[in-house]
């Protein structure tokens, strides 16, 4: 059974390379995108922490900024 799945009637090299290429592309795209997101979140956190109290309060008044900060604390 396992040998049949691996050999695929002699087409194993083609079938497995096509599926592997697809899964490797998915994994690479996922991690590159995740890295870009984390980088931008860290940049936001660093900029936010450098704000004075008044500016930080103004920034916090926006829902989206609060959401970004809560997501950063979750990662």
């Amino acid at each position: 059974m396992i040998n049949e799945i691996i050999s695929m009637n002699g087409y194993g090299t083609y079938v497995w390379s096509a599926f592997s290429f697809t899964l490797i592309s998915f994994t690479t795209l996922y991690f590159v995108t995740k890295l870009q997101l984390s980088k931008e979140q860290r940049r936001f956190a660093s900029k936010f922490s450098s704000l004075n109290i008044e500016k930080a309060r103004t920034a916090r008044s926006q829902n989206i900024n609060r959401e970004i900060l809560s997501n950063i604390s979750n990662i």
């Binding site: 799945i5 079938v15 592309s25 995108t33």
Partner: protein
């Protein structure tokens, strides 16, 4: 008209959705791979080489679908002067491009055992290659231009021009003699030339690929929104 689509309102959803979409994608992909590699039957002519269809066809469908969306969003961005459309289009493009490359590479791998060649300048393959070039130009334009209004104009123009190629890809097998067979599935007709034992895994794999493109879109869109907010912090 598009107030409910404002980034400030939808970020609460888009920031939480990726973990659920990722879970769903893994479940659907696992079922799809089991069906495609183990449970589905081999073809009477192509034998097990037919299994490449389960990654090649969904990748081609989704790359075409995403490019059509880019064109529609670009038209929308022009008509309604809504920059969020451009941001959505920018977030969709990377997964569309990767699906296009997957379709070309897996098609080439499938071509060797079925046609005896890795590549042929056939109408369908050539038009898919042209689509990849349009995707490449679209993504490059976002990197090259710094002026926001200019980049929206240039990328919209590329998307609208590239969209002319979409019907050419679809109908290339009918308009020219190509190595590709005519379409086996037509959404406008009930006449489906593919057996249910192969149609079901194809449907599941298409759903898995669509979930993956949704996942990447959400992550990219969140990245873009945080970038905008980072600039907002500089202006405080």
């Amino acid at each position: 008209m598009f107030k409910s689509f404002e980034p400030n309102k939808i970020f609460a959803i888009t920031s939480k959705a990726p973990k659920y979409v990722l879970f769903l994608f893994i479940v659907v992909l696992t079922i799809g791979l089991t069906e495609a590699l183990v449970l589905s039957p081999e073809d009477y002519k192509q034998s097990d080489a037919v299994r490449i269809m389960y990654v090649h066809v969904p990748a081609a469908w989704i790359s075409l679908g995403i490019f059509s969306s880019l064109a529609l969003l670009s038209v929308g961005s022009f008509l309604f002067k809504n920059k969020n459309f451009a941001l959505i289009a920018k977030s969709l493009a990377p997964s569309g491009f990767v699906f296009n490359i997957i379709a070309l590479v897996t098609g080439s791998i499938w071509g060797k055992p079925t046609w005896g060649t890795w590549w042929a300048w056939d109408a369908r393959i050539t038009s898919m290659l042209i689509l990849a070039l349009f995707y490449g130009m679209y993504l490059l334009a976002w990197r090259i231009y710094e002026n926001k209004d200019q980049v929206i104009k240039v990328t919209s123009l590329i998307a609208i021009l590239g969209a002319i190629n979409v019907p050419i890809i679809k109908f290339s097998v009918d308009w020219w003699n190509t190595l590709h067979q005519p379409a086996s599935i037509n959404i406008l007709s009930t006449n489906i030339a593919i057996h249910a034992s192969m149609l079901i895994p194809l449907g599941i794999m298409t759903a898995a690929f669509a979930l993956f493109s949704l996942l990447i879109f959400l992550m990219k869109y969140n990245t873009e929104l945080i970038k905008v907010k980072n600039k907002g912090l500089d202006r405080l």
